[in-house]
């Protein structure tokens, strides 16, 4: 039987992102980067709540959101697992989101005065860091 993958995540109170969003963001990144693989079992609602000292309902809400979005799937009375990868958004929506993110990024970066080549190199490096890692 699959063992629970530990969820190495931390939450911060006093952050503009609500705790639910901190959890959903972190899990999405971990799945996208391969730190969590399809079939991995997530900690129980109560377990993660205790790990983070937060209300179990908050974890339940975060898990529910991730399940609705297709990142996680529940297996009957066995808990929650990382779902098989699939495209979760339509092509048009992916395009739209990418445009939006690039637009934001450019607005933030242009005033900093780096050359386009420098920025591109740094972005490439950053993306490389996120590339799926092999597990030991």
């Amino acid at each position: 039987m699959a063992r629970t993958r530990p969820l190495m995540l931390q939450i911060a109170t006093g952050d503009p992102r609500p705790i639910i969003k901190q959890i959903t963001d972190a899990v999405r990144v971990k799945i996208a980067t391969g730190e969590l693989e399809s079939g991995d079992q997530l900690p129980s609602v109560r377990g993660l709540a205790q790990q983070l000292t937060i209300n179990p309902n908050t974890v339940a809400k975060a898990y529910a959101e991730l399940t609705t979005e297709g990142w996680l799937e529940s297996r009957q009375s066995m808990g929650l697992y990382v779902a098989a990868p699939r495209q979760r958004l339509s092509d048009a929506e992916r395009d739209r989101r990418l445009d939006m993110a690039i637009d934001h990024f450019i607005h933030d970066v242009v005033p900093l005065g780096f050359s386009p080549a420098e920025v591109q190199a740094r972005v490439a490096h950053g993306l490389q860091q996120l590339a799926p890692r092999k597990r030991a």
């Binding site: 109170t13 006093g14 952050d15 503009p16 992102r17 609500p18 705790i19 639910i20 969003k21 109560r46 709540a49 205790q50 000292t53 937060i54 209300n55 179990p56 309902n57 908050t58």
Partner: protein, 304 residues
């Protein structure tokens, strides 16, 4: 689930007047059964008065207050046994031994749950033979919570329960509150000024101000109502009374910082029309949102 919502606390036009001051001002508050509800409000918002009335220790000046479906002015000892109460003082008879207090409570409450008591008290180094007066503040808090939960209450009211506790005791307190099975069938009302805790524990955020209900929703939904805008409006900027949803304005290094309630992109238009060339906005934390919301109407001396 019936079609009638079940409220643990329900007030209608509840008012309490102390001389010229209205501590509760036609308060309409309905708290549904289940989950953890945090109540915040500046000092003097009426929280203590509300609970004194709800527990039947104080009569209202007008209106109605019901707790667990019963009129708060005619509670029987049985009704009271369904309600647990822990306050910041953690007052208990200091000359009694821990075991004596526990035995007394066990005798008093028919639904006494020894397992719940052991479960919570196990978080603390409290020995049965110790006198209550010898316990530290954190130990008394834990002891009090253990007693309240063992009573098997349907409603547990915690009034600033972690005030003055060190970080370890605070964490132990929150853990026994959130992860003990004893709270499974219990509605918890958590009064606190500590946003860090509220963010961790609350399903529902209730904001009281000057004896009135000002807001009730999940904490993150309240945070989403408040946004922080920074603009470079020339001179002093628009007259403050014309700024929509304004909670707080600060002029810092020649830039105006606005914390506003319920504003969308229309607010950017407002700032640009006032002459701003640069406008930026960002979300705020729960702490900041509640703070700005309460600070808006906080008493201040009349400006000269």
């Amino acid at each position: 689930m019936g079609d009638v919502t079940d409220y643990v606390i329900e007030t209608r036009a509840l008012s309490k007047r102390y001389g010229r001051k209205l501590a509760l001002d036609h308060l309409d508050l309905r708290i549904p059964r289940g989950r953890i509800h945090a109540i915040v409000g500046a000092n003097g918002a009426g929280k203590s008065t509300l609970f004194r009335i709800l527990m039947g220790f104080l009569p209202p000046s007008a209106g109605e207050a019901r707790i667990l479906g019963k009129d708060s002015q005619s509670l029987t000892p049985h009704d009271r046994s369904r309600i647990g109460f822990v306050n910041e003082e953690h007052t208990l008879a200091s000359w009694m031994r821990v075991s004596q207090v526990a035995a007394m409570q066990q005798h008093q409450y028919p639904r006494w749950n020894q397992h719940a008591y052991d479960n919570v008290i196990g978080h603390y180094h409290v020995l049965p033979e110790q006198k209550v007066g010898q316990l530290s503040r954190g130990e008394r808090a834990g002891f009090n919570l253990a007693l309240a939960l063992a009573q098997g209450p349907e409603l547990l009211v915690l009034d600033e329960p972690t005030l003055g506790l060190d970080v370890v005791a605070k964490r132990a307190f929150l853990e026994s509150l959130m992860y003990s099975n004893a709270t499974d069938d219990c509605t918890v009302i958590y009064c606190s000024h500590q946003m860090e805790e509220i963010e961790r524990v609350a399903d529902n955020l209730i904001i009281l101000e000057r004896g009135q209900l000002r807001h009730m929703s999940a904490p993150e939904d309240f945070t989403a109502r408040v946004s922080h805008w920074i603009a470079d409006v020339p001179f002093k900027g628009p007259a403050l009374h014309t700024v929509p949803g304004l909670l707080e304005m600060q002029q810092l290094d020649g830039l105006q910082h606005y914390l506003v309630l319920d504003q969308d992109e229309g607010f950017e238009r407002f700032l640009r029309e006032a002459g701003a060339r640069n406008v930026q906005s960002m979300p705020v934390s729960l702490d900041r949102a509640v703070n700005a919301f309460l600070a808006k109407n906080h008493a201040a001396p009349n400006a000269a």
